[in-house]
């Protein structure tokens, strides 16, 4: 009989693969006709992913459908097998097929599905097997396949809601307040706020009642009306479900993290806290805590701060992407720009003088898979008049790129030109200038990401560091320094503010690219164009941070153990230890270490401490 079941399941698998193949053929033909440049895998993986979810459902629900269709239930019940053995014979080939499909999914996931997956692998894995087991448990509700299928779909929807409810209850029981984590986010991002081993038990104890009740009820399965079987099932289900629910709440309670919170220290020493479980933001100063009307998510590397405002992107609302402006004086939040519903906004905002600049791209494009050309628009927001200028980018060439960043701006007598680079190949960055009409002009290349400081464009090739001045018509080389090392300047922390504050020093790192290890910290003196090593006698694993000034900070990190070890201040060639840290995690369920221009914020087991920079004086927030 096992052979028959394997044959049947194999046949079903072939049908399924054939359907997927046909859908893909149709998709391929459509793409050939429309001359789309999308990659084949981009459409294959989501189809496959939903296809095998359907397969899990079908394998479970069709456990006895073949016998029911042939009216052969009585015949198979007369076989010399116990009910449990019969069930095992029925389930085993389907379980093996499920595992095979799951392994195939894992292979495809790591072959590239990871970047285009719409369901997180953790959520998918749980839902895939849960759907199979729940479908099995409802395979004998009625003799009618359709009724069983509809029942499973209802029950499975309820099951998903139950998972959410269990976490909500655990969250409230733990005293973290109301749980508002969007259901969609759980599905897409996985249940990342709970320890994986606990999530496993939460799901397990919610699925077990279905499957144990079914197995126990099936021990007396016969040809009497389904209602008799269902009554027996429900009698067993109610107590097991109550027990399972209590256990799953217990495991959710045990495994749930402190709410993930992010912090932002403003330049006027106020602390903005955002709770990602209930999407509340509040702002602390010395004495008070004020709850903000809307949630905001400022980050040191993507938000722009000036004397009065912080500008940031907001992705929190469903399908609405907007730029928010937070007034640091009166805590007022307003929306500066909302994207077209079909589009997405870049996360990073940048500012030059009175203009905020950002980019808008089509939904479905990601910074990692997009192709330059049809999708991007330049958005300029005037911070004084609030006027918005939106222009489509007009490219000369089309490159496939994985990252692109705006790194500077220069002004000629009659126009403002934005400098951006695109990573177009290994050790090759294309530099372009963009005018306010969106025209993109190629102006050069660099081996590593370029910089624009003190009105000088700094690039490098295999042999030299090259300093050039930009004018409307040409680039003029000012200086070349021979440098064969693999030097990466540290442009990241310049980006939010593109204003032309005169700088004396540029900091950089010399890298051993084979070992992916920083070999040296370097300083480039912009007054004499000399590059010097900063003398250090410690391990250089960590991050170099520069906040638009001549001072830099180096955070020494033990990446293996996820620990912050020390903080150093660098001023020209001088380096000074500011503080050593013990047991401060770089990030974790209730720990974080964030460095901002005015100070550092340390969250250690939920407790938050804030220190100003560069003096490391503790900033007190009474209500924190």
């Amino acid at each position: 009989m096992l052979k028959k079941e394997f044959k049947e399941v194999f046949k079903q698998m072939l049908y399924f693969l054939l359907i997927i193949f046909l859908i893909l053929c149709a998709e391929f033909i459509e793409r050939v006709i429309s001359k789309s440049t999308f990659q084949f895998f981009d459409s294959f993986f989501p189809i496959f992913q939903f296809g095998i979810l359907f397969m899990a459902f079908f394998f479970g629900i069709s456990l006895f459908s073949s016998e029911v269709r042939q009216k052969g239930t009585e015949y198979i019940l007369s076989f010399p097998y116990s009910r449990l053995k019969l069930l095992c014979i029925k389930v085993a080939p389907r379980a093996i097929a499920m595992i095979l499909f799951y392994l195939l999914y894992i292979v495809f996931y790591y072959l590239g599905g990871k970047n285009i997956s719409i369901i997180a692998i953790v959520s998918f894995s749980y839902f895939f097997f849960a759907l199979f087991l729940i479908s099995i448990s409802f395979s004998s509700v009625r003799d009618n396949f359709l009724v069983n299928a509809i029942t499973v779909l209802f029950v499975f929807s309820g099951f998903l809601a139950l998972v959410y409810a269990v976490y909500s209850i655990a969250h409230v029981l733990k005293g973290y307040g109301l749980f508002c984590f969007p259901f969609k986010s759980i599905f897409m991002a996985g249940v990342s706020f709970v320890e994986p081993k606990f999530t496993f038990f939460v799901i397990l104890f919610l699925v077990l009642p279905f499957i144990t009740s079914f197995v126990l009820a099936f021990r007396k399965f016969d040809i009497r009306s389904c209602s008799i079987f269902n009554k027996r099932y429900i009698k067993l289900f109610i107590p097991t479900f109550i027990a399972g629910l209590i256990l799953s709440i217990f495991f959710a309670y045990s495994g749930i993290h402190n709410p993930y919170k992010s912090y932002y220290l403003t330049e006027n020493h106020k602390l903005i806290e955002t709770n990602y479980f209930n999407f509340n933001s509040c702002i602390y100063d010395n004495e008070s805590k004020i709850k903000l009307k809307e949630s905001i998510e400022p980050y040191s590397w993507s938000s722009v701060e000036d004397e009065k405002h912080i500008y940031m992107s907001d992705w929190s609302e469903k399908d609405v992407y907007k730029v928010q402006r937070f007034n640091k004086i009166n805590n007022h939040i307003e929306t500066s720009y909302t994207s077209n519903k079909k589009n997405r906004l870049s996360w990073r905002l940048q500012k030059y003088k009175d203009e905020i600049i950002l980019f808008e791209r089509e939904k479905g494009e990601s910074p990692y898979s997009t192709k330059v050309g049809k999708v991007r628009s330049l958005i300029l927001i005037n911070t004084v008049t609030k006027a918005i200028n939106k222009e489509k980018l007009k490219f000369q060439n089309k490159w496939k790129h994985i990252s692109s960043f705006l790194f500077g701006v220069y002004e000629t007598s009659n126009e403002r030109l934005w400098l951006k680079y695109f990573h177009i190949g290994k050790n090759l960055y294309q530099i372009v200038e963009i005018n306010k009409h969106g025209n993109v002009k190629e102006i050069g290349k660099s081996k590593n990401p370029p910089l624009y400081v003190n009105n000088i464009l700094i690039t490098n090739d295999e042999q030299n560091i090259i300093f050039e001045s930009l004018t409307q018509k040409e680039k003029k080389i000012i200086k070349k320094i021979p440098e064969k090392r693999d030097i990466h300047f540290n442009p990241r922390w310049f980006r939010p503010n593109l204003n032309h504050e005169k700088k004396r020093f540029i900091y950089a790192s010399a890298w051993d690219m084979k070992k992916k290890k920083r070999k040296k910290l370097l300083v480039l003196n912009l007054e004499n164009f000399k590059i010097k090593d900063i003398k250090t006698d410690f391990n250089l694993d960590g991050y170099l941070r520069v906040f638009n000034s001549d001072i830099a900070y180096f955070t020494q990190i033990d990446f293996k153990n996820n620990l912050i070890k020390a903080l150093y201040k660098i001023d020209g060639e001088k380096i000074k230890l500011l503080k050593r840290f013990k047991n401060v995690e770089r990030f974790g369920e209730d720990s974080s270490f964030e460095i901002f221009k005015p100070g550092i914020v340390i969250r250690k087991k939920g407790k938050v401490s804030v220190f100003s920079l560069p003096d490391l004086k503790e900033l007190k927030f009474k209500k924190l």
């Binding site: 052979k3 016998e67 042939q70 010399p80 008799i228």
Partner: protein, 281 residues
Amino acid sequence: MINNEIIKVKNLNINFNKHMAIDNLSISFNKGETVLITGRNGSGKTTFLKCLGGILFPDSGLIQFGNKVSKRKIGVISDKMSLLEDYTLEQGIAFHSEIFGIDKFNFSLINQLNLKYERKIKTLSAGERAIYHLSLIISQKPELLLIDEIIHMIDAYIRELFLEALIELINDVNTTIIMVNHTFSETGRIPERILIMEQGKFILDEKRENLNKKIKKIITHKEIEEDIPVLFKKESSIQKEFYIYPFKEEFNSKYKYDFQDINLTEIIKSFIGGCYAKKRV
């Protein structure tokens, strides 16, 4: 279990949505016995048989099989039972042989009907299906054969084949046969033990040879004495028929009636008729 017993049923109960189909039933069957279970429609015969075949699960009670009876040696054949209809006869034989561990399949019955092996089971007529199914079961060399209302739905030729096969089985394998049937004209020669079921219980359990002695018929124009136990009374404008059960030898000397012997069909009819009469009351 006593040595010769093949099945022992103790306090068996089965409900169908509050309707008691089998009511605290206890009985045993011996090796090699041929048993006929009959009774009016809905009395629980098929339920009982399906319970013995493992198709139905009792709500309570116990069904014990003799030590040497393997589940592979139990055959169930029913008028309503479908096989795996999408299979061809050949596939069905291979499948059944694998499940029941049949080494040597007995093709004789199928060959007598000249059935083609590549035909699908669903294309067989009721009679052909019965013979095909019986072939599958016979090949198991069953120690226990449970037959549910097959005879009435097949034609005379196939019926003859079917009964001959049963007799051969009884002779060769000493199979215990328990059959549920409503017609007895042709099967009447087979059973040794007659069981009549009513409302989930056996109201008659007699060896066939004793049954003729225990039930008699009187035909008269008048009412009979009250101390004669009447199982069933049939009345017409011309005469009255009284079925007497249990009949005692002393009745012959005490009363001057002609106590007539009756055949099996009439015996069973009288019992069923009695059940209906009681129900009417």
